[in-house]
């Protein structure tokens, strides 16, 4: 039953979630730190686009990537049983 599946997955979801959360938190903190402490570095460019824009876009894309990783890992964990 879907309900039981769900209960099993949820016992493992918290530690995995927290690990992924820590990863993203580090990336986000890096962004805040670079903006405040290294504004000149953020003004540097990659392929003609400045790092502030690139880092901002990366934060958005990585959020989605981690969310998909989370979903996939939980699903695989369940089907392996």
């Amino acid at each position: 039953m879907a309900q039981d599946d769900d209960a099993e997955a949820s016992t493992r979801s918290t530690p995995l979630g927290l690990r992924l959360f820590a990863l993203y938190l580090a990336l986000y903190a890096g962004y805040m730190g670079a903006t405040v402490f290294a504004p000149r570095w953020m003004a540097g460019t990659v392929a003609g686009i400045n790092l502030a824009i690139v880092y901002g876009l990366v934060l958005i894309v990585v959020a989605l990537a981690l969310a998909l990783v989370y979903l996939t890992l939980l699903r695989e964990g369940r089907s392996a049983r």
Partner: protein, 636 residues
């Protein structure tokens, strides 16, 4: 600026609102029980719920406010996009699933699941009400801003119209119709903004043709024009960098700003625009505001002064090329200065501020974050950190987002719908960068209303697109407002009346109580929407995030991860977080200048975003109070 109402806009608008209302009435028949009314029976499909998340979240503030902020200040608006999205990571990885396990209808349920304490119920319900109201203000302001150009009504009428339609939606069908409205609106918003971004890229960038845009000329060619004379630099104008030219025929007074000199040493003047308020009358360049003969109106602004390589137009550009080209261009932004004259009139001079594109694409251009790029310590840096923390922590504490976890059947569905939400919201926030920069260079901005930038940008691509985008934005307001009012109504009927006051309500009575609460909250929101008219809506939402994060996040997180948390700790943390962040906002320089009309320097607060201080404060209070109340808890 004065807008002309268009018939197309009115028709499109009427179709949208009519469709939304019809859907509500249709679904209303299915939502008679409390579980139906407050949680849509808990059987919404995860994909629909995920897009509805986007519908809830991409409010008027995201759409109108961020586009406006980017259009006027560049990167500083994009900061909000980044922070708003990052907050979803907290929601997905930390809060969502445990919350779903613990609660039934509201977030107070979840907080109180372990304790059964009336203090927690009360504090959580009040904080839900406060945050919802705070979040409602910008939605109402956004509605007022939209209705003006769309239907030609005043701000007040716009606010009242939204209020009434939303109350109808909520009262007829509660969470079921709210969810479907959000789903439809979320999808349409994303589709049409994608189209708009595509049109911007296809159009590319260009510099204004001869006679378009705003002039920068040598002094002699301005002051020597026939039929005009220079007004003396007297009174408040003495020592200011302006030259005022009176036209003897029309009586118009054109203001020019001294703008340095060109390569051959000729002094230059750049064309400015002046808005004077004298004895309650609004004058533009010295003439009454209007479109008829003998009147004058502000001209729309926003142009590229020079493209890289001296080109006149780029033709269509890819997304990355677009960013590169903006970075290499010279863009004309606008500054303003207030001049108070002896006769009690106040003139705001709006002047051209040529800005290098590479500066536009870095944070620190808006007044709030001025000083962010300086070396060493500045309060702007603290303000920035505080905002980014509040946005990060705020999403997972917003009551109208939290209640959406109760509309799906189980935790797997919660997870999947959150991921769908992140995908659609993230995509939309990437679009905002292009919409904002497109508006900045569209030549259509209204200097007095940043919130109108996105619809005005759309107008550049034709009346129909303008009508559709405005109608979507308006539906956006309707959707978000109905979600917020649902959250508030749940807090009153479920948390306050049933759980706290132990009123013995039948299912049907509970639904009725929720509906009455919805009407009251809706009315309150209308009043506040009229009061806060002047403030950029994204700025207001930033504050709602601050209050939500300060009041709710410490309790949510600690309850889930710290076994020693006590009921007194939670109650105290919610109360202190809510009161301290609210007080801070009401005393901040922004509120002083934009809401009370006082001098911003008089504000006792060193920066305007409280989150950096008040979120940790909430955690500290929770830990201290919990430790102090350990024993009483054990005895109980």
């Amino acid at each position: 600026m004065i807008y002309e109402a268009s018939a197309t806009a009115t028709v499109v608008f009427a179709i949208f609102v009519g469709a939304v209302l019809a859907l509500s009435f249709y679904l209303g028949a299915a939502a008679k029980s409390a579980k139906g009314y407050f949680a849509a029976h808990g059987d919404i499909h995860w994909f629909v719920n995920g897009i509805a998340f986007a519908g809830d979240y991409l409010s008027a503030a995201s759409f109108l406010g961020i586009c406006g902020m980017i259009a006027f200040y560049g990167y500083d608006g994009f900061l909000y996009s980044i922070g708003y999205l990052a907050g979803w990571i907290v929601a997905l990885f930390v809060v969502a699933e445990p919350l779903k396990r613990l609660g039934r209808f509201t977030f107070a349920d979840a907080l109180d699941a372990r304790f059964g304490s009336r203090g927690i119920k009360l504090a959580a319900a009040v904080s839900t009400l406060v945050v919802s109201l705070f979040y409602l203000i910008p939605q109402m302001v956004g509605a007022g801003a939209l209705i003006k150009p769309l239907l030609g009504f005043s701000h007040h009428v716009g606010v009242l119209l939204v209020g009434i339609v939303v109350i109808l939606i909520v009262v007829t069908a509660g969470m079921v119709s709210t969810t479907w409205v959000q789903f439809i609106k979320g999808s349409m918003l994303i589709v049409f903004c994608t189209i708009l971004a595509g049109l911007i890229l296809a159009r590319g960038l260009r510099t204004p043709a001869e006679g378009e845009g705003f002039a920068v000329r040598p002094v002699s060619s301005v002051t020597g024009a026939p039929g005009t004379h220079v007004l003396a630099e007297e009174g408040a104008w003495a020592g200011k960098p302006y030259v005022r030219m009176a036209d003897e025929g029309s009586g118009r007074v054109a203001v020019w700003r001294k703008a340095g000199s060109d390569v051959s040493g000729n002094e230059l003047l750049s064309e400015a625009q002046a808005v004077t308020v004298r004895a309650g009358q609004k004058l533009i360049d010295g003439l009454p505001q209007g479109k008829r003969k003998g009147e004058h109106d502000l001209r729309p602004v926003g142009h590229v002064a020079a493209l890289p390589g001296g080109e006149a137009a780029t033709g269509s550009l890819g997304p990355l090329d677009f960013l590169r080209t903006v970075g290499g261009s010279q863009i004309v932004l606008w500054g303003s200065e207030k001049i108070a004259e002896g006769d009690g009139s106040i003139t705001t001079v709006y002047f051209q501020k040529p800005t290098a594109g590479r500066d536009v694409l870095l944070p620190g251009l808006s007044p709030t974050f001025k000083g962010l790029r300086d070396d060493g310590f500045t309060w702007a840096k603290v303000d920035f950190l505080s905002l980014m923390i509040a946005l990060f922590c705020g999403t997972a504490s917003l009551p109208h987002i939290l209640i959406r976890y109760y509309t799906v059947s189980n935790q797997a569905a919660v997870r999947k719908s959150t991921v769908v939400g992140i995908a659609s919201i993230g995509f939309f926030y990437i679009l905002t960068l292009f919409l904002g920069l497109g508006a900045m260079t569209s030549g259509r901005l209204d200097l007095t209303d940043t919130n109108m930038s996105a619809p005005l940008l759309a107008e550049g691509f034709g009346k129909l697109l303008f009508a559709v985008i405005s109608a979507i934005a308006f539906t956006t307001v309707l959707g978000t407002v109905s979600g917020l009012i649902m959250a508030a109504s749940g807090a009153v009927a479920h948390d306050l009346m049933t759980s706290l006051l132990k009123m013995d309500l039948s299912d049907r009575e509970k639904v009725r109580a929720g509906k009455i609460a919805a009407v009251v909250v809706g009315a309150l929101a209308m009043v506040l929407g009229i009061l806060f008219k002047e403030v950029n809506v994204t700025f207001l939402v930033g504050w709602a995030f601050n209050v939500a994060a300060s009041a709710n996040l410490p309790s949510l997180v600690m309850l889930l991860f710290w076994p020693k948390t006590t009921k007194q700790g939670i109650t105290a943390a919610i109360t202190v977080g809510m009161v301290s962040s609210l007080a801070w906002i009401l005393l901040s320089a922004e509120t002083y200048s934009k809401v009370y009309g006082w001098k911003p320097e008089a504000s006792p607060m060193p920066f305007s975003q409280p989150g950096l201080v008040t979120i940790p404060l909430g955690f500290v209070v929770l830990v201290v109070v919990s430790l102090l109340t350990q024993r009483s808890e054990a005895r109980a």
